[in-house]
Amino acid sequence: MNTHAVMTDESELLARALRRERLARKKAETLLEDRARELYKSQQEVRDHYESLRTTQMQLVQSEKMASIGQLAAGVAHEINNPIGFVTSNVATLAEYLTVIRGLLESYGTLTDLLAEQPDVVPEVQTLLQSIRHTVQTEDLDYIVSDTTDLLRESQDGLCRVREIVQNLKSFVRLDQSPVQEADINEGIETTLKVVWNELKYKCKIQKRLSPLPPLRCCPGELNQVFANLLVNAAQAMEQGEIVIESSANETHVVVRISDNGCGISPDNLAKLFTPFFTTKPVGSGTGLGLSVSYGIIQKHGGEIVVESQVGQGTTFTIQLPLQGGPL
């Protein structure tokens, strides 16, 4: 009997111990699941932090790149400006000299013709006249004279372009100080549209959704340059299409959005878009400075310019300009 009682006690003891073990195991399993969930959550957080760090790093690299290119551009602009000044001046003087030389050459021509008709010209003069006539014919003096005029005109055009590039570089690195004033950005958009209308009118419809804006302390001329760049680029990105210009204001910023339904920009090009001298336009038709200058101008205003694009769908540029405290 005693043995049975002991056995019963023992089996009860064991049953209780087993129950405790089972409960402990369940508890351990719950703990494990909780830990797994926590781990997943923290892994997710690490991943989010990593993504945000990567984005920040990319932005930093971009702004560092812009800063170093800016410094380089400032040096180049300064160095080029002086020689371009005297070359332009020299070419203008050369053009004036050429007018004189051309008149004189015409007189010489008439003189040689008159001398050639004279019967009593001394043989030395006769030989010289023949040599002159020979040179005029073989070297095609008429062509040389007219081509020199063209060459000088083209050189002047080229110099004008170089000067424009230098000018753009200077505004990119903020060497130029245009006056700061309070302005209505909508007025700027309207003015710019008139200026670039010739570039747009055959290719695109313009849709304006301009909301009333508070006055903004800015350099209106420079902002107009940004709008002009974006509008002309948009027009160049399409055969026939539509450009939507929107403006609005929230408590802190004026927002201008210029969207087109043109060919869009590939992700590769998107990354280089604001880099000076980067262009996808054919050689000779774009300097690759428009957007980098625009970037510099928006930065100067303490604002932000962001681009979103889908190849084949179109591109949207969003400009945010702070109402208060933007660095100018």
């Binding site: 003891l13 405790r20 402990a24 508890k27 351990a28 703990l31």
Partner: protein, 181 residues
């Protein structure tokens, strides 16, 4: 207190006193006794259990706690072999408690409340461990030092020269290695 202490106490009691004693201790203490190594339990539960064991076995609480400390050491070695790499000595293990073992415990269980050990090394044969803990479980430390010596087959003479239970601000254990007690 970490669950590992409770599960090892459970093993000790079952091994030395039998399952019935453990079951009775839980019953007397009104505890469910569901312990897992990874969880954390109130310090008071451990105190209740040890008090009941002391009264049922007739062994004083400090002696019981010291014996438990001795038993804990090989238990820790079995559960956490990473802290007992080949070639490690008793002295090196004791020196790693604060800077390595507790640091790792914190990584796994950030909520764990751990004692603090400061060290003095007067000579290669001597080591001073200064123990600070709100739990004031210095007999457990004594047992752990005993257990360490046994585990490594070394002899450690320990002198508990200062004690919080005697009004000192910390417990000071002066250890001498390689001396037959």
């Amino acid at each position: 207190m970490k669950g590992i202490v409770f599960t090892l106490l459970n093993e000790l009691v079952e091994e030395k006193f039998g399952l019935a004693t453990w079951d009775n201790m839980l019953h007397e203490s009104d505890l469910d006794g569901v312990y897992t190594a990874a969880d954390t339990y109130p310090d008071a539960e451990l105190l209740q259990l040890v008090t009941h064991l002391s009264s049922s076995s007739g062994i004083g609480t400090p002696a019981l706690v010291r014996a438990f400390g001795n038993y804990l050491l090989p238990g820790f070695a079995a559960h956490y072999p990473v802290f007992f790499p080949p070639g490690i000595t008793a002295r090196q293990l004791l020196l790693s408690v604060d800077g390595i073992i507790h640091e790792e415990v914190k990584k796994l269980y950030p909520e764990a409340v751990l004692p603090r050990f400061d060290y003095e090394e007067p000579s290669p044969q001597e080591l001073v461990m200064i123990y600070r803990s709100t739990r004031q479980l210095c007999p457990l430390v004594e047992g752990l030092i005993d257990g360490t010596a046994e585990y490594f087959g070394e002899t450690i003479q320990q002198r508990h020269t200062r004690c919080v239970h005697r009004g000192d601000d910390a417990c000071r254990f002066e250890l001498t290695f390689g001396v037959t007690p």
